[in-house]
């Protein structure tokens, strides 16, 4: 029967061409949107690697003040440690978790060269963020005077730079001149939030008198409210006149990052749904018309021994064959994405998106063909055969 259906479709390929283009286009759009969704979902289920609840970011901007900035920042650091509401404090660069700032550069080890995110941090960062060290150690004060600057890498960087080799104690190069020594490894670190892929990242150590890194992350006691925030801002602003002092909650930054990721996905999804609804309505209309045109064929098949179910199966089978041919054409395009490593996304994501897109297309064509096929099976053969 399958062969018979293929023949029927093949012999009517011109009549079906528009339908095939519609299904092909739907498949391609779905493939694109589902690739995006699968990519984000897979990222989402990967642990973020650190805690963000009850973490505040204190952002300082020295504006025109260039006098003893490093000392002033160090004083602020000391002051922050004195608040009873603050459990932990750490100093960090401007690319705090969930911020819009990014710092990256290539680092290399032997023949491996990897674009890596840099996170300037201090010795308290791992504890403040509850970032577990899986091998080696986190920074300590002694790292400020070591011959080679100490770095801690995440597992994604370890895998790409070192593969199966143990990275602890090894030197990696930046700009082919500066050597860093790996002292520790952390597992995941997805600074842009759950939807970020676990990209290679490394932590560099901020020395005490550094004047550049002026962000602090505070782990506050649960329930600490805006009153403390106001007091904190007032206190710090009093210490550094003409500086901007701003507190943001990490949970709010996280929400902003999520919106940045989700809004385009939702927009694509809405456009895609609109397209699919149009395609579905078109398909439904075409199938209804097809069946109306083929009433005598239905009557004939019933006379030749087709049951009602066989007629339903035939019409469903035809649309499945049509969808399969269209999607095979679509797959020719879609497989280029993993083969050519487009967007540097893992091939498995594209394969899952292809499978899902095929599933959705089969579901849509089945839903569209179901009612017309049922109608076809209910056509009275005696009536259909004598309509001409």
């Amino acid at each position: 029967m399958l062969r018979h259906l293929f023949k029927l479709i093949w012999n009517k390929k011109k009549a079906h061409s528009l339908l095939m283009v519609e299904i092909w286009a739907s498949f391609m759009v779905l493939f694109g949107v589902l690739s995006l969704i699968v990519y984000n979902v897979r990222n989402y289920v990967e642990p973020i690697g650190f805690d963000y609840e009850d973490r505040w970011i204190l952002n300082l901007s020295n504006n025109q003040d260039t006098l003893a900035v490093g000392d002033k920042v160090a004083s602020i650091y000391q002051r922050l440690n004195q608040y009873a509401e603050v459990e932990e404090v750490t100093r960090t660069g401007s690319n705090t978790p969930f911020s819009m700032n990014t710092m990256n550069n290539s680092v290399s080890y032997k023949d491996a060269k990897v674009l890596t995110n840099f996170y300037p941090v201090d010795e308290n960062y791992a504890q403040t963020m509850n970032l577990p060290v899986t091998a080696g150690r986190w920074f300590n004060k002694a790292d400020a005077v070591s011959k080679h600057e100490a770095i801690v890498i995440n597992d994604a960087a370890r895998e790409k730079l070192f593969g199966a080799e143990n990275p602890i104690g090894k030197l990696v190069k930046r700009d082919d001149k500066l050597y860093w020594r790996v002292v520790g490894i952390v597992d995941n670190f997805k600074a842009k939030g759950e939807f970020m892929s676990d990209e290679p990242g490394l932590f560099t150590f901020i020395k005490d008198k550094n004047a550049w890194e002026k962000e602090f992350i505070l782990k506050v006691k649960p329930g600490t409210d805006a009153n403390f925030e106001a007091k904190l801002v007032k206190d710090i602003a009093g210490m550094v006149k003409d500086w901007n002092v701003e507190v943001t909650y990490m949970t709010d930054s996280r929400k902003n990052q999520h919106s940045l990721t989700l809004v385009p996905v939702v927009i694509f999804l809405v456009i895609c749904s609109f397209l699919l609804v149009n395609v579905a309505l078109g398909l439904f209309g075409i199938l209804n018309l097809n069946i109306a045109k083929r009433r005598d064929e239905i009557g004939l098949r019933r006379a030749m021994g087709a049951t009602e179910k066989a007629v339903t199966r035939q019409f469903l089978g035809e649309i499945w064959v049509l969808a399969t041919i269209s999607m095979l054409l679509g797959l020719l395009f879609a497989v280029q994405f993993p083969l050519l490593n487009v967007f540097d996304i893992e091939g498995g994501i594209y394969l899952v998106a292809m499978a899902l897109a095929m599933g959705v297309v089969y579901l849509i064509v089945t839903l569209c063909a179901w009612y017309p096929s049922q109608q076809a099976s209910r056509i009275h053969p005696a009536v259909a055969l004598h309509e001409e």
Partner: protein, 232 residues
């Protein structure tokens, strides 16, 4: 072979009730070639549809091959149509998007027959009607007579015991019509029981038995020849 008892068929709409067949009793024996005649609208095609299990009578019983089919459901009726009955229609009802060979294979699609066996049986059926040279052609490339021969091949490919022909020569000129009737006569000689609805008196006279209908009532049932087919 076919036994109709007290058949009545009423078509109802919301406003009109039409009596298409009224108390029809017919017994067609194995090997008979029966023609049914009557003016247009007298119920000939309705009668043939009831014999072919394509329509249900409003009253009465239908027996095919000794079995009453009144209680048969869709699946059993479809199986009976597929295995015991072959249909030939005035307007051929060929599927234009399929080749001649594929058209002839259709009844075998609804049986557990392999693709190879289907092909062989279809080829044999087409050879029987003299169309072995047109297997790859499409219906649009054939004349009316050739189309009807394809329809006959399709009707006999499953080796049914009964062939029901609804005005098989109605759309053909007399030469083609005679050719088709000759094929039907040969099939009958090989053992097929044939029931043919026709408007053509000369065609009807070449069958064994002529049943005339008028306004849904069976008015005559005449034996024209007792020389029945004895089977293959």
């Amino acid at each position: 072979m076919i036994k109709l008892q007290n058949i009545e068929k009423v078509y109802r709409t919301s406003s009109i009730e039409t009596l298409a067949l009224n108390n029809v009793n017919i017994h067609i024996r194995k090997g008979e070639f029966v023609s049914i005649m009557g003016p247009s609208g007298c119920g000939k095609s309705t009668l043939l549809n009831i014999m072919g299990l394509l329509d249900e009578p409003s009253k009465g019983t239908v027996e095919i091959g000794g079995k009453t089919v009144d209680q048969y459901h869709d699946k059993a009726l479809a199986r009976l149509r597929n295995e015991k009955l072959g249909f030939i229609f005035q307007s051929f009802h060929l599927i234009n998007d399929l080749s001649v060979l594929d058209n002839v294979e259709i009844p075998l699609l609804y049986r557990s027959t392999s693709a190879r066996e289907r092909r062989e049986l279809a080829q044999q059926a087409l050879e029987k009607v003299g169309l072995s040279n047109r297997m790859k052609h499409f219906p649009k490339e054939l004349s009316g007579g050739q189309k009807q021969r394809v329809a006959i091949a399709r009707a006999i490919v499953g080796k049914p015991e009964i062939i029901l022909a609804d005005e098989p020569t109605g759309n053909l000129d007399s030469a083609m019509g005679n050719e088709i009737l000759s094929i039907l006569q040969n099939l009958n000689k090989e053992g097929a029981t044939i029931v043919m609805v026709t408007h053509d008196e000369s065609m009807a006279k070449r069958t064994h038995r002529l049943i005339r209908l008028f306004d849904g009532t069976q008015v005559t049932d005449s034996i024209l020849s007792t020389n029945l087919a004895t089977g293959v």
